[in-house]
């Protein structure tokens, strides 16, 4: 049969081709390579890969100076950390430098990373004190520093100026009560049937953004000393408020499964008036190619409960550079970390789109010029708290929080029951 003959021939040809390709693929050059594992955003920040940014190729220049070949492996947040953890468990790994996000930086992971106190003593990071102490503290367990902060993502309140103006508001809400009031008034249906939700938050993606919303009402999961504060009157009031807003249609009906992408889309299409999201989304919200309201989505720090004595609240996630304990090029990795952490390069990375961890960077004129929200972000990060992950069961606790808070907002449980249940289930996990 002709077809069989053809199949046989292609089989033979393929086998030959595969053999030769296999040989080619294994061709490795005998250079010193430094392999970095991170999210794409770090590669972009460190190498200036995004069009129109002016920071330059910080990592590339370092590599050229040190005669090193840089290999950069990227993946999205969860797959990247899954990969990292597997590599860390091996006897020796090809990964020399990894960027970890604080929610995964548990004590368990930190034990697989190289302690950095000695490295820091031997080869100082320029102006180490310029990195906020609380960030360094959150990356130090048992007096051992295991990662150097590189990037922060802090939540702010994004609002659609045009929509606000449409409904008669001249400026953004300035108190939590105003936020609720504005959100209610910004929930309406247009004549063509398009629904606009006054308030949205990626509640299906993780606890981070929801907690920043609850934070506005003075509620928190736990304080920085791991004292669980979840069963508080503020939390009950906040959950009750969200439930009411959900029932009224102010929060979208698919609140419980809202992903980061869906929130972005709803803001871009003008179907959400106020969103709680990291400051850095500003660029995406105002992208003329993707947004119906380019230049009209503004961001301010989240207003705090006046009774708390603070003016703004913010939650932040930190990305930090770490060296695997089983890496083969620790000296080179540390050298690159030092390079990326210098004050000058922090500004360059920020110009490339990074969220700089040095408050001093926000004073730089070039940065102020590039991003209209730098001042707001600087204010926010000064007050920002992280979700502590200095205990091993933090992922479980996050899941419990998501589950109970969703139940409360959707009305499957009363806020009191949800808060009490959260406390009962979380406390034993934290104090292990």
């Amino acid at each position: 049969m002709k077809i069989i003959r053809r199949v046989k021939a292609s089989l033979a040809g393929f086998a030959l081709g595969l053999l030769s390709l296999q040989v080619a693929a294994q061709d490795k050059k005998p250079e010193t390579t430094l392999t970095v594992l991170s999210h794409k955003v770090h590669e972009i920040s460190a190498r200036g890969l995004a069009a129109g940014t002016t920071g330059g190729d910080i990592a590339g220049e370092w590599a050229a100076r040190n005669n090193v070949k840089l290999v950069w492996i990227t993946a999205d947040i969860d797959p990247m950390h899954d990969r990292l953890l597997r590599e860390l468990a091996l006897r020796s790994t090809s990964i020399d430098l990894a960027f970890v996000i604080n929610k995964y930086a548990t004590p368990r992971m930190s034990r697989l990373l190289e302690p950095l106190n000695d490295w820091e003593r031997r080869a100082l990071i320029e102006d180490f004190a310029g990195i906020p102490a609380n960030l360094i503290a959150s990356l130090t367990y048992n007096k051992s520093l295991f990662a150097i902060p590189f990037r922060h993502a802090t939540t702010g309140l994004h609002y659609n100026e045009a929509l606000l103006k449409e409904r008669g508001f001249t400026g953004p809400p300035r108190t939590p009560d105003e936020v609720v009031d504005y959100a209610r008034k910004m929930t309406f249906t247009r004549p063509d049937g398009t629904k606009v939700n006054g308030l949205t938050v990626p509640a299906g993606a993780g606890p981070f953004a929801v907690l920043s919303l609850l934070n506005m009402f003075g509620a928190e999961l736990m304080d920085q000393n791991l004292n669980v504060k979840v069963n508080s009157p503020q939390m009950i009031r906040a959950l009750g408020m969200l439930h009411t807003l959900y029932k009224e249609g102010v929060l979208p009906s698919n609140y419980a499964t809202l992903s980061i992408d869906e929130v972005i889309t709803s803001v871009q299409t003008g179907q959400a008036a106020i969103a709680f999201d990291p400051f850095a989304r500003y660029t995406i919200y105002n992208d003329p190619k993707k947004s119906k309201y380019p230049g009209q989505i503004k961001v301010i720090p989240i207003p705090a409960d006046p009774a708390s004595g603070r003016k703004v609240v913010a939650m932040t996630e930190i990305w930090a550079a770490a060296i695997p304990k089983n890496s083969a090029h620790k000296e080179l990795a540390w050298s690159l970390i030092r390079e990326l952490s210098s004050p000058a390069n922090t500004i360059r990375a920020a110009l490339n789109g990074n969220g700089p961890v040095r408050p001093a960077a926000y004073d730089d004129a070039r940065l102020k010029e590039r991003l209209p929200y730098t001042q707001e972000e600087a204010v926010a990060i000064a007050q920002a708290t992280t979700i502590p992950s200095s205990y091993d069961a933090s992922a479980q606790v996050n899941t419990i929080f998501m589950e109970e808070s969703q139940a409360a907002v959707l009305g499957l449980k009363t806020p009191e029951a949800a808060a009490a249940s959260m406390e009962k289930r979380i406390v034993p996990l934290v104090k292990r």
Partner: protein, 280 residues
């Protein structure tokens, strides 16, 4: 070749309706994805859905420029998929033949074992596999993916081939033997042509699975053997938000070889039809 005809207007109307439904159901979401790859992002999420729109190639250009790893990884995907398919189909053909033509209690039990062993979720199997693959130095090679993908499909492919070879009368084997054919010749010249439908169906499954597979590729490859689905999954970004146009452009490109395979495979299926008419 006779076709069974359905007379009467009602059956014909019902059939037309069924066909229409089938096309809308199967092609609808895929059409959404393909057309979206040519739409500006705002048009993708516009409601009512924009049927008439100004097409753009921006996303494909961005895919080419920003995600320059896509094309090389497509090549890797092709190598791995073809390799896995050939390995799985060949190996399972031989196995399926034996399961069909031979019998022993042990053999029958091993057939059940072949199926039972597939019940463990692959993600759990990666836990011990990762350090072992690393230890063997197979990490980030085509070989590891080819071997894993093929292994995960041989159970089904073998059973499918067995079912098809069962249909081939044993008299054909004996006739060939009497004519002086060796065992191998019987297998390749008599059994093989008549099992083409089953092998083709199996081949499609293995190829499509390998082509789109993500979990093993993520865990076992980094650079040299990185496959296209990994690049596409990076477009689904939790920090920048997904660039939907680029995502759909990548997916559309990935669709092309599969469509080609299916069209080609259809010919093998039909070719098997004429061979089938030879059956007793």
């Amino acid at each position: 070749m006779r076709r069974r005809r359905l007379h009467g207007l009602l059956p014909r109307l019902l059939r037309a309706l069924a066909v229409l439904l089938m096309v809308a159901w199967s092609a609808g979401p895929v059409l959404f994805v393909v057309t979206a790859s040519f739409k500006q992002q705002l048009d993708i999420f516009a409601y009512p859905p924009k049927i008439v729109f100004r097409p753009t190639f921006d996303h494909y250009v961005t895919l080419w420029n920003t995600w320059d790893a896509f094309l090389p990884t497509l090549r890797n995907s092709l190598i791995v998929s073809v390799g896995a398919t050939l390995l799985a189909v060949c190996v399972s053909f031989l196995g399926g033949y034996v399961y069909s033509r031979y019998y022993s209690r042990l053999l029958a039990a091993s057939a059940v074992y072949m199926i039972a062993i597939r019940l463990l979720p692959p993600i759990v199997v990666t836990l011990p596999l990762f350090p072992v693959i690393d230890f063997l130095g197979l990490s980030d090679t085509y070989a590891v993916l080819i071997l894993l993908y093929a292994s995960f499909w041989v159970s089904l492919c073998t059973m499918v081939v067995k079912t098809f070879v069962d249909e081939i009368p044993k008299e054909l084997d004996e006739a060939a033997f009497v004519d002086g054919a060796t065992h191998l010749q019987t297998i390749t010249k008599v059994i093989l042509p008549l099992s083409l439908q089953g092998m083709m169906a199996s081949g499609i499954f293995v190829f499509v699975y390998s082509w789109n597979e993500y979990l093993f590729a993520l865990i076992f490859t980094t650079q040299h053997a990185k496959t296209a689905p990994l690049v596409i999954s990076e477009v689904m970004d939790a920090i920048y938000g997904t660039d939907w146009g680029v995502l759909f452009a990548g997916v559309t490109i990935q669709l092309v070889p599969v469509v080609a395979l299916v069209v080609l495979g259809q010919r093998l299926l039909v070719a098997g039809l004429t061979a089938g008419s030879v059956k007793g």
